[in-house]
Symmetry: C2
Subunit: 417 residues, 2 copies
């Protein structure tokens, strides 16, 4: 079936979903979770096929690990769906309202977006996570996963669709788009009028392709060239702990730090402590000249940093480190190289914190804490569909409300102008 036809069916399903009650939607989510548990063998068998194909094709161990499911991972996916069932339904929430001077009652009410398209890479858990969140917010979803996960995604979607049918909603609320051709991505990007929003989740090049070629509105997600700035007034123990956590706790994710900026007045004391700690944690530092010098003094080899280093989201145990002359220079550096995801300042100075918060234009600006906190679950949203790095519609971690639009409802008794 073409993406266009799938989009048309999704629109029909979306109409039914838009008026489904919370209890119906939660029943679907429960049935999905049950289905994944009772049919885990089907899903794991399909996943084994993907892994065999991937191994034969020479996929890296890291990619195979992201692709691999286990009974425990399937359980975790099911548990995630139950978590979403327990979250409040955003649909119908009155965002603002009141009575106008002429007696008209005005309410702005949350409604589903309609049809959401998700384009994503290897991890098959995204299939169920995204479907669950979209469904809870009353949206139909078109899922375009990776061809490497094609069998796993097909098995998961079969289970999810069966659960929708059992509860009595249209199964076309969740559809898998053909992952065997690039054409299907192009068709999704051109499905304006059928698809209300596209959310690409994956590497920078996938996201750039979608952003530049889509006529469907896009929410840009995830690229995180995150900075930690250690101010001259920083508590250096706090700074050490924050930098290490931001860089090494999970280097492959978008809220990990990729760049450290150190105020010149703190550098002489801080770098001789920080650089060995980074080395001991397996981090390769790409440094500006003063950082290279500090490394040499401590017997640590530092790679000289280039502009490209400062612009790179490593997603690995690499870190660019630069010494800056002032908080202004730190802000300028972030403005030049940052991706607008998350930047943190470590400082005991209230004016410095206030300036950094006011002048750094990122989805999340953090004072005296790790960049790793920019996350829907950490923020208390229960679950997230991604982290937006654009300014329109949603910015930062996106939970259920970000998967909705609003409408105005106006009630009168014969009012005319």
């Amino acid at each position: 079936m073409s993406v266009h036809e799938q989009g048309q069916q999704a629109r029909v399903a979306a109409t039914a979903l838009a008026t489904a009650s919370r209890s119906t939607k939660d029943a679907v989510l429960s049935a999905m979770a049950d289905g994944l548990r009772t049919r885990a063998k089907e899903v794991l068998a399909a996943n084994a096929e993907d892994l065999a194909v991937g191994r034969a094709a020479g996929l890296s161990e890291a990619l195979l690990d992201r692709l691999a499911l286990s009974p425990a991972r399937v359980d975790a996916i099911a548990a995630g769906l139950r978590t979403v069932a327990n979250l409040p339904d955003p649909v119908g929430e009155v965002v603002r309202g009141g009575t106008l001077p002429n007696g008209l009652e005005l309410r702005q009410v949350r409604v589903p977006l309609g049809v959401v398209g998700i384009i994503y890479e290897a991890r098959p858990n995204v299939t169920a996570d995204a479907a669950g969140l979209c469904l809870k917010a009353g949206n139909a979803v078109l899922l375009r996963g990776s061809s490497t996960a094609a069998h796993s995604n097909a098995a998961i979607v079969t289970v999810l669709r069966d659960a929708i049918k059992v509860v009595g909603l249209p199964a076309d609320a969740v559809q898998l788009v053909d992952a065997s051709t690039r054409e299907s991505v192009t068709e999704l990007m051109r499905a304006r009028g059928l698809v209300d929003v596209l959310i690409p989740r994956g590497g920078a090049s996938l996201i750039r392709t979608v952003v530049e070629n889509s006529t469907v509105p896009v929410i840009e997600t995830g690229v995180g060239n995150c900075h930690v700035y250690v101010d001259q007034a920083a508590d250096l123990d706090e700074a050490m702990a924050i930098v290490l956590n931001a860089k090494v706790q999970r280097p492959s994710v978008c809220n990990a730090a990729e760049s450290l900026l150190v105020h010149r007045a703190a550098a002489d004391e801080f770098l001789p402590r920080m650089l060995p700690a980074l080395r001991d944690n397996g981090v390769t530092v790409h440094g500006s000249p003063p950082v290279v010098a500090a490394g040499a003094a401590a017997g640590i080899r530092i790679e000289p940093a280039t502009s490209e280093d400062y612009a790179t989201e490593y997603l690995s145990l690499d870190l660019s480190v630069a010494v800056v002359d002032s908080i202004d220079d730190a802000i300028t550096h972030i403005r030049q190289y940052g991706s607008g995801h998350t930047e943190a300042i470590v400082t005991r100075s209230q004016p410095a914190a206030r300036r950094f918060v006011a002048e750094v234009d990122s989805a999340a600006v953090i004072v005296n804490a790790s960049t790793r906190f920019t996350d829907g679950e950490e923020f208390g949203f229960g679950a997230e569909i991604g982290i937006s790095t654009q300014k329109l519609h949603a910015r930062g971690p996106m939970g259920l409300p970000e998967l909705t639009s609003t409408k105005y409802v106006v009630t009168g008794n014969g009012h005319v102008r």
Copy 2:
């Protein structure tokens, strides 16, 4: 100067504007209003040039009227800027916030979008209105008006920029983009990374062009194929008043009604009253067969309606009228032909009102009142930059908050994960 260079200068200006205090921004708006009053002669002289060129080029009287300024119109523009100065500043508003279980303080705060691009047609008042709203929300603005208003827009922008300079903000916060070539529109649409959002204001074809070709995120505005549905349980006096108001009070605007749907059970009583009233108000009706028959019985000639009629935003004293068998058919008709702007139901039935509100997916759904109320000033927003008919970011009339984004501010004391 190229649009690219203008965009770069706008970004620099936007940085200064983002942290400007409300009192500074309001001082600029006051100075702009003062400037327009004291230099009205300059503006009117430039406008006279545009009118002369337009007349020589054979512009229609309607277009010339939209282009024409008068001392009273310049005063009204200045008054509009003062109104915006009196509106609350959306920047800095805490949208939500609280303390997380781990003690991190989380706040979601409104921030400016950055650089806004407006592409618009003849009316020169949009130049000052849009600049004032963007500036109040902390945004720089690139204004691409119509070539027919080039002199007027240049004169207005000169006054506005002088006012910004006097207060001490960067004048490049407001810039006029060359209107003499189509190239400048293309450049604006491709200025991703420099321009944060494009808002096209004008006819359907302008909006479609921008939506389909822009890599900059777009907010679709304004196309309104608005419906009034007269239910079987309608109060017919109320229905008559609402239909007349929605159609004839100001037929050239997007919230005017373009289509009337009448429940079969009400048609026999309603049409013989409604059709003569429409005729008496100069309205040409394009009707379905039962409407043509009702017209014939009353001695009124009705044009037979085609699918194209039902899909048309006339913006004139024309109205398509169809008899429908049920509320379901009315909702289906609206889904097929509507533009998602505003639809109204006239009914005394609570269940019918509830269904219509739940199932009609438009920016505004109105019960027992005229479609003409979908308007930022009517809704109490003080001013509006346009009416969004898309679902992302903003839907319906857009005021100052819709010209902002948000950022998350997270404050800890050394928190790590």
